[in-house]
């Protein structure tokens, strides 16, 4: 699609006349006609990437834990079950352990052997998480690596690095920003970032 073609069609508001939509549909039909893919396979992939996996799931878990002390207790006691209460689960989330940040303890997760990652709550891992440098250095010199992420911890804060094992996948429960006292669960979930749930960032109120 050239830039000019876009321009020509700008006046057409009907979605079905968007040349990019037409082209996409034409390509899909040609691929399906040739038996290269099925439309059902496309549906499955879209669903997986768009709704099943992503850090917004983890953000819902965190926001609920912040607002519901009973849920928080259940989450720390049995992460898998408490996460499943929200309808979240699946591959790479069969055995979840949630570790809580406090003013005295900061948690961060890694998988030193490969790049195990809690897909159901965080989606697919970012590139740096899979990078050999992060995987080796976060264990050896966590404070220094966290500083490189822009997170400077007090000297008396204990850093705990959790290395995903064959089965266990960790999720960090970040500290709730003090200034969010009156915020509801939905507003809180908006504040929770992927990096905070990995443990390489704090959450700031907006």
């Amino acid at each position: 699609m050239s830039h000019d073609e876009n321009h020509e069609h700008e006046h057409e508001h009907e979605h079905e006349h968007d040349p990019r939509a037409i082209r996409t549909e034409a390509l899909e039909r040609l691929l399906v006609e040739q038996g290269l893919i099925t439309s059902a396979a496309i549906d499955t992939i879209i669903e997986r990437y768009e709704t099943d996996v992503g850090p917004l799931n983890g953000a819902r878990v965190v926001a609920k834990a912040w607002t519901d002390p009973d849920y928080r207790a259940r989450l720390l006691e049995d992460g898998t079950a408490a996460i499943a209460e929200l309808g979240i689960g699946g591959p790479q989330g069969e055995k979840m352990v949630v570790v809580e940040n406090t003013p005295d303890v900061h948690n961060v997760i890694v998988c030193t052997l490969c790049s195990c990652y809690p897909w159901p709550v965080l989606g697919l891992p970012p590139a740096w998480y899979k990078d050999p440098a992060y995987r080796s250095r976060i264990v050896r010199e966590p404070r220094k690596v966290l500083r490189e992420f822009g997170l400077t911890l007090d000297d008396d804060t204990e850093v705990r690095v959790w290395d995903s094992s064959a089965e266990i996948r960790y999720l960090v429960l970040p500290e709730r920003p003090a200034s969010t006292l009156g915020a509801d669960e939905e507003a809180l979930a908006d504040l929770v970032t992927r990096d905070a749930m990995i443990g390489v960032a704090r959450i700031d109120a907006r």
Partner: protein, 120 residues
């Protein structure tokens, strides 16, 4: 590293990274979702090597960005990642003989000729 095919896909940052909010992919129109799904479905069916697509995406983005620079009226706000993705996919399909110029245009004309308000 032992990870599934997903891990080689979709760089989280850099010029070829798709738009995301809080780590989630962002789609603004159904066709964007569709072309993304078709690309990944074809990849997972083993029909092409991901770097071949990645390279075409890099090229499409470079062409697109050059066009935007040449037309300051639209400016950078006109940046359309998924249009680049579509261009890259079309080039890949063309190269593999999945969608020749003629068959693609014929199919597009057929779809355009449908009466308005057709059911998808």
């Amino acid at each position: 590293m032992t990870s599934g095919p997903e891990s080689v896909l979709l760089p989280p940052d850099g010029p070829t990274a798709p738009p995301r909010v809080n780590g989630e992919l962002v789609f603004d129109a159904p066709w964007q979702t569709r072309i993304f799904g078709a690309t990944v479905a074809l990849f997972e069916a083993g029909r092409f090597a991901w770097p071949d697509f990645q390279q075409r995406l890099i090229e499409a983005i470079a062409v697109h960005e050059a066009a935007l620079e040449a037309d300051p009226i639209d400016g950078t706000s006109g940046y359309d990642y998924w249009a680049c993705w579509l261009d890259a996919f079309r080039a890949l399909a063309d190269e593999h003989g999945w969608a020749s110029q003629r068959s693609l245009h014929d199919m597009e004309h057929e779809l355009e000729a449908r009466p308005a308000g057709h059911d998808h």
